[in-house]
């Protein structure tokens, strides 16, 4: 039996790679931007790249905001990737102040990072950065990151980072200069990763496989 995953198609982002990674890990994928498919999904992925406001507009114009919230309340697994993770939060300060899906308390703020010598680090933060287990997270066992070791690298590309209100929402962090980046988050059945698991080689595929088995 193959596991079914619905990937939200709302006109934004490279959904081909996400789809391929899910299929590679044994999933059958339904690409859809229809509210009824989202409500009926056994597992749901919210991908996305680009600007926060555009992403939320894409969801709103398709009438997907409420269906995603209702889906999340059902207890079935939801995974937001990159912009998709950021949209799980309550608000973003990217070019203004925008409301998000508000499934995880916290905000999205610009990356401001300095190197030890005081020089400003480049933004966007692009590249492979090691994952760290935050102090408040006892173990990655039985989470999206099961089987991943601390220090394994994932591929990031972003100019803004989530700042969860609760320490307990943090599943993994990353360090960029003196900036603490929220690399992966969790709130019950709602998961998010700032990096691209579908572009993070074997480490990323492990997480995708974990999600498919949820």
């Amino acid at each position: 039996m193959t596991a079914a995953v619905t990937v939200i198609d709302y006109g934004i982002g490279n959904i081909f790679s996400v789809t391929r990674a899910l299929e590679h890990c044994g999933a059958t994928v339904l690409l859809s931007g229809r509210p009824e498919d989202i409500l009926a999904a056994p597992r749901l992925v919210l991908p996305g790249v680009g600007a926060f406001a555009n992403g939320m507009d894409g969801l709103r114009s398709r009438g997907l905001v409420e269906p995603i919230r209702r889906y999340a309340a059902s207890g079935r697994p939801l995974l937001g990737i990159c912009l998709g993770m950021q949209m799980l939060f309550a608000r973003s300060l990217e070019f203004g102040d925008h409301e998000g899906l508000a499934l995880i308390p916290g905000i999205i703020a610009p990356i401001v990072a300095k190197a030890p010598d005081g020089a400003a680090l480049k933004v966007p933060h692009i590249g492979w950065t090691p994952l760290e287990r935050p102090p408040g997270c006892a173990t990655w066992d039985a989470t999206l990151l099961a089987g991943v070791r601390e220090g394994e690298n994932c591929y990031f590309v972003h100019s803004f980072t989530a700042v969860p209100e609760r320490e307990s929402s943090r599943l993994a962090d990353a360090t960029y200069g003196d900036c603490r980046i929220s690399a992966a988050v969790r709130e019950g059945n709602v998961w998010g990763c700032q990096f691209h698991p579908e572009k993070s080689g074997e480490t990323g595929l492990r997480m995708v496989a974990n999600f498919v088995r949820m």
Partner: protein
Amino acid sequence: MANVRLIARLDIKGPNLIKGIHLEGLRVIGDPQEHARRYYEQGADELLYIDIVASLYGRNNLRDIVSRAARDIFIPLTVGGGVRSVDDVRDLLRAGADKVAINTAAVNRPELVTEVSRAFGSQCMVLSIEAKKIAEGRWEVFTDNGRERTGRDVVEWARRGWELGAGEILLTSVDREGTRKGFDVELVEAVTAACAIPVIASGGMGTLEHVEEVCKRGRADAVAIADALHYRRMDIPQVREGMRGRGIPVRAVERSAEP
């Protein structure tokens, strides 16, 4: 210092992976997919595909090659060659590319850089610059694989591209490309000093010392390697270990514990 990315560069002509010198005198290396798979399995951080004769063969060629690659290669893919419009970018992203490199069309119409970064985010807008040295400390922007002059100064153009919304710069030294004589470190240094977006140094990699120089003195954020990999003079783990040994931060590649 962030990890320096190791990028395998695949120049494409028609269905073939090719390699030239100074972007000319092309020689067929083989099937791009076979090489791409090998670099992925060796732990390349990214792959970069450039169709060097896109205008002759049409863009579909590159789109097919990329969608084939994206089927079972799970690292970032950057694609360039003959990209002229926001629609072209959308096509390539839909085919599985993560970023698009634009050279000639951006020179002809700089607003395209802004249009692409607004539509898809600056993270996928890579400004590709072909640079030729014209005097001490001065480089000119070329297009069409280093054949056409533009009269633009490389450092000014790079800074302008950053202001227009480019998220990254692919900087190819036409003088060094395919020569194995080392990167044009002064060029890379001048561009990294002028803009606050990542710069990929391309052209001239012959030895690990060359990589060390372009990372340390040139402050390159990423290095593109073609020749040395295609001709199997080196493999990715050798380059990675060599860099680590020279104090350059690189991604630690390891396999997860089996479940």
